[in-house]
């Protein structure tokens, strides 16, 4: 916890001192990124069902980028 606070405080203090470069990928260069094959998720229902299976059958959870609820595990 203390380490986390230190990191946050350091980031806040040093944030203003760092000069970031100009955004180097311009909007007109992002055609490839908008292709469907570059999307993490194209089917919300499929992802949610898959995530539900993992949550119910495995011990780990979270940080998946998919939200869901319920148990279905009784």
């Amino acid at each position: 916890m203390r380490a986390t606070l230190l990191i946050i405080a350091s980031t806040a203090l040093l944030g203003g001192c760092v000069t970031l470069p100009e955004p180097w990928v311009k909007p007109y260069e992002r055609e490839r990124l908008s292709d469907p094959i570059m999307l993490v998720s194209r089917h919300a229902l499929i992802d949610k069902h898959r995530e539900h299976i993992h949550t119910v059958r495995e011990g780990a959870r979270g940080a998946t980028g998919v939200q869901g609820g319920g148990c279905g595990c009784n």
Binding site: P27, L45, G72
Partner: protein, 400 residues
């Protein structure tokens, strides 16, 4: 999440500017930085509350869409099937409303059930409602979900914020979900206990090049209340006893994901790699790795394949057959040491001849999973338990 669900990263045509210059004194800079953040959020909230300004940023709401799916999970004596539907509609290009309905018809003859109880059938239904509000480069999302089984009800509310910065190359998101479960037991009227859950999450998606996206997600979850199953038995000195779990649990997970356009190697293809590390205060540690490829086989057909590997260590109080009386004891195999290997494939076909501005897609996906337990004994055979499962999904989706 924000980058994909909201379709923002990589598709916009913004003219955002980079941050400029630093001052020599860090402290004054920090104050200036804080003032900038405060003024930006004040403006943002003011706009959100007033609801009067047109979206000037380039973040975009999800497409209007309708999806219908039928899903099957079959493995380990459990078969869960059912339909699900999703409808999403935007209003005045500023708010997008969504609703989902999901059904699981479960036929359960899992190893827990056949060892200590009788096979049963039941149905779970889940309903989700969401509202996404576009404010400049930010999307505010509010969600509600409710899941109902005969002996379990779960409901929760969530709030998420995702904003684009740095010329649209970076999407920062954070969110919170609070949920509550009511736990019951068959043949016992009323609820026997309840559980509360708090989920805090944050994410960062970064465009690194015209062909490379990375994202980092972190989530902390805290639970309090009844965190086990009233039907599951533990073994102590070979005798079956009701499991005894701690009433609190706290977990952390972090996930790194990378997606590359690999068209230079294989025409119109991409490669995805993910890794998640998980640990909690029950001493469960887990690693999840997944890689996937996607390719346009022809203009209307996309093929995908994935391989996933999951492994975890057991909880402190897990025991296949405890040889001492302890305060907590569980034989929940999801808390044992095991690993999962999965391979999957998906095909998406875009229907031709649709009116301009609309799309109709048909998707089918299959996944084969192998569960291999290291210290959970199948009492019928005396050997470590293992099973395979199949997951099949068929989806019809339309955007309009």
């Amino acid at each position: 999440m924000a980058a994909t669900e909201h379709g923002a990263v990589g598709t916009r045509a913004s003219t955002g500017s980079a941050r400029t210059g630093g001052l020599p004194i860090a402290l004054s800079l920090s104050k200036r930085w804080c003032a900038t953040i405060v003024s930006r959020w004040r403006a943002l909230l003011g706009t959100a509350l007033a609801g009067s300004a047109a979206p000037t940023g380039a973040a975009v709401l999800p497409d209007d869409r309708a999806e219908a799916t039928f899903h099957v999970y079959d493995g380990g004596g459990v078969r869960a099937t059912g339909p699900a539907v999703l409808v999403r509609k935007s209003i005045a290009d500023r708010v997008s409303l969504s609703a989902q309905y999901y059904v699981d018809a479960v036929s359960n003859a899992s190893i827990d059930v056949v060892t200590y109880a009788s096979p049963f059938k039941e149905t779970r239904t889940a309903t989700d409602f969401g509202a996404d509000w576009l404010v400049r480069d930010t999307i505010l999302s509010l969600s509600y979900n409710r899941s109902v089984e005969p002996d379990y009800i779960a409901e929760g509310v969530g709030l998420d914020v995702a904003t684009e910065v740095y010329g649209g190359m970076t999407t920062v998101s954070m969110g919170f979900t609070r949920s509550r479960d009511l736990v019951g037991k068959k043949l016992q009227p009323g609820w026997i206990d309840r559980a509360l859950h708090w989920q805090y999450r944050a994410g960062l998606t970064q465009i690194l090049s015209p062909r490379w996206l990375v994202s980092l997600n972190a989530e902390a979850v805290s639970d309090e209340g009844y965190l086990g199953s009233p039907y599951r038995a533990a073994r102590v000195f070979g005798a079956a006893v009701l499991e005894r779990n701690p009433r609190t649990r706290s977990s952390r997970a972090i996930k790194l994901r990378s997606i590359n356009d690999t068209s230079a190697i294989v025409p119109r293809s991409s490669f995805r790699a993910e890794y998640r590390y998980y640990r909690d205060n029950w001493d469960v540690k887990a690693h999840t790795a997944e890689i996937g490829v996607a390719k346009h086989l022809e203009p209307r057909l996309i093929a995908e394949a994935l391989v996933r590997r999951y492994s975890q260590t057991q909880a402190l109080f897990y025991s296949d057959n405890a040889q001492a009386e302890t305060v907590f004891v569980s034989r929940n195999r999801q808390l044992s040491t095991f690993h999962t290997t999965a391979v999957g494939a998906k095909l998406t076909y875009t229907w031709p001849g649709m009116p301009a501005g609309t799309e109709l897609r048909l998707t089918g996906s299959v996944e084969r999973k192998q569960f291999r337990f290291s210290n959970f004994t199948d009492l019928r055979t005396g050997r470590p338990y293992a099973y395979d499962a199949n997951v099949v999904q068929v989806v019809v989706s339309g955007t309009f």
